[in-house]
């Protein structure tokens, strides 16, 4: 594998985690347009821990994930009074606030960015991605995940049959924040330099895009979507000046052809049934 392919794969992995962080919230029927904010928290915190405090990377990532998760839960309490597009707006605002915060935070370099991280290999990135993908995959057949889907399908009914929908949503928010933080920490240590501009609205939208393109009903969709988003622009290089437009057009076409995303639950079910029959 060439190092170019490897670095693209690392980018796929990092974006997969970002997408999964959105996927987890989307599973409860809510949209976050501000997960780049959590990614930024993870990136800066993990980097600060490894560079300044000398904490080993894996521990730093775990700490960053926990802290970001806690912040996610704390923000979740007031934010989850909002629903649908209003929650999406609030998360958008949150993301922009975090970006603005790091722009002004001198100990992490402000606008000048932060460096000094040791580069991590694509293997290390994918160990994390694999771990979290498996974790999400396991969770998908758990009762907790059913509760999240119940909240997405009919929150009132879910509450009335005994599900603590608030805790479910806050839990999902916390988990999402933690996963986004891992994505950020890996991003920082793969690219060994971060600046606030890395974590703007565009990044949050990329996460959402990866989930929706790949399929928002199963975790593997995030992987497919992320791969598409990273690899497609590389494949379009021959188009020169029209590369972004071609990308935009393909994006629309995919949405029109498969609005449920490239992968979905029924597709998967069809495959598993066939396996059982065979």
């Amino acid at each position: 594998m060439s190092t170019y392919t490897a670095s693209l794969l690392a980018d796929v992995g990092i974006l997969t985690l970002g997408a999964l962080s959105v996927y987890v919230i989307l599973a409860t029927g809510q949209l976050s347009l501000g997960n780049a904010g959590f990614m930024a928290i993870g990136a800066y915190l993990a980097s600060y821990l490894t560079v300044v405090a000398g904490v080993p990377l894996t521990s730093a990532l775990v700490i960053a994930a926990l802290c970001s998760g806690i912040i996610g839960v704390m923000i979740g309490f007031p934010a989850l009074r909002l629903k649908g597009i209003f929650l999406a707006m609030a998360t958008l605002g949150f993301g922009e606030m975090i970006r603005s915060l790091f722009l002004n935070l001198e100990i992490t370099g402000g606008a000048g960015g932060f460096h000094g991280m040791a580069h991590v290999s694509v293997t290390y990135v994918w160990i994390w991605v694999g771990l979290i993908l498996v974790l999400v995959w396991l969770m998908e057949s758990s009762r907790a995940w059913l509760e999240m889907r119940a909240v997405a399908d009919d929150e009132t009914a879910a509450n009335l049959i005994g599900l603590n929908t608030t805790m479910t949503k806050i839990g999902a928010f916390g988990m999402s924040a933690a996963v986004a933080a891992v994505s950020g920490g890996l991003f920082a240590h793969h690219h060994v330099y971060i600046e606030p501009g890395n974590f703007g609205f565009e990044r949050s939208i990329d996460f959402v895009l990866a989930v929706i393109l790949g399929g928002s009903t199963i975790g593997a969709g995030s992987l497919v979507g992320a791969a598409l988003l990273v690899l497609l622009p590389e494949q379009l290089r021959a188009l020169d000046d029209w590369r972004p437009a071609a990308f935009g057009a393909l994006l629309i076409i995919v949405l029109l052809i498969r609005r449920q995303g490239i992968l979905d639950r029924s597709l998967l079910r069809r495959f598993t049934f066939r396996k059982q029959a065979a």
Binding site: L138, M139, S141, S142, R143, A144, W145, L146, E147, R149, A150, A152, D153, D154, T156, A157, A158, N159, L160, I161, G162, L163, N164, T165, T217, R265
Partner: protein, 250 residues
């Protein structure tokens, strides 16, 4: 005599000046099937909503199992044992029948176990779901999306889902609406079996014959006011009820 399982005293619920329930008091005793009847707009579903916490009563108290649940949040009331079904079926649109039977079960043991695949971590939940699936005769449709099933089957799934939440009081909002006679009879038999197993049931129903054949006790509402209560035989012959409700239907 022991305290009733559910007791409402002087409950009032109004919407912008219109009283959907006014000064309602009633009780449901352990092990009974109790019916609530009344014409459309009498406040029956509002009553269910107040009991299960979907609406908060303006005044009055609701006690369940000697606990004041008036201001509890809905999920807590359901966890305490009062679980309902819905008049306009509210199944989860993305879920199969089987998933419906797992989702509402109360958590057992550590929280993290709920986040692991159910088939590894929670054999008891699987067993319970299988049991309920069998009880309602839903085995053939277990892997189908519940919303895609026939109306009668959907009602059964709703009931089954409520049952998996381990209720002590099952609140059924028009459980046989839209069913043919055979289906309704099937449901009636299931409910009797549940009662014989010790479950208490409170139900709203329009089908008079169904209610009279099934219930141990009846409350009659009209315009949010309790106009009569008693054994089915007494209600059937109560002139006020005849006038307000049965009479109108005739």
């Amino acid at each position: 005599m022991s305290a009733p399982l559910l007791q409402l005293s002087d409950v009032t619920k109004s919407f912008g000046g219109i009283k959907a329930l006014s000064g309602l008091s009633c009780e449901v005793r352990q092990g009974q099937i109790v019916g609530v009847i009344g014409p459309n707009g009498a406040g029956k579903t509002t009553l269910f909503n107040v009991i299960t916490g979907a609406y908060r009563a303006n005044s009055g108290d609701v006690n369940f199992d000697r606990q004041p649940i008036t201001h509890w949040r809905p999920y807590r009331i359901a966890r305490a044992g009062a679980v309902r079904t819905f008049q306009n079926i509210r199944l989860f649109s993305s879920m199969t029948v089987w998933e419906h039977l797992l989702v509402a079960q109360p958590g057992r043991g550590a929280l993290w176990r709920r986040a692991l695949p159910t088939r590894w971590a929670d054999g008891a939940a699987i067993a319970r779901a299988e049991e309920v699936l069998e009880f309602f005769g839903l085995k053939d449709v277990r892997n189908q999306i519940a919303r895609s099933l026939s109306y009668g089957t959907q009602r059964k799934v709703e009931m089954a889902r409520a049952l998996t939440a381990n209720p002590r009081l099952l609140l059924l909002d028009e459980p046989v609406a839209g069913m043919n006679h055979d289906e309704a009879e099937d449901i009636r038999r299931l409910m009797l079996r549940l009662r014989d197993g010790g479950l208490t049931i409170l139900l709203i129903e329009h089908d008079m014959g169904f209610v009279m054949n099934l219930c141990d006790y009846l409350y009659v509402l009209d315009f949010g006011v309790l106009i009569a209560k008693g054994l089915p035989a007494e209600i059937q012959s109560d002139p006020i009820v005849m006038d307000a409700y049965l009479g109108k239907e005739a």
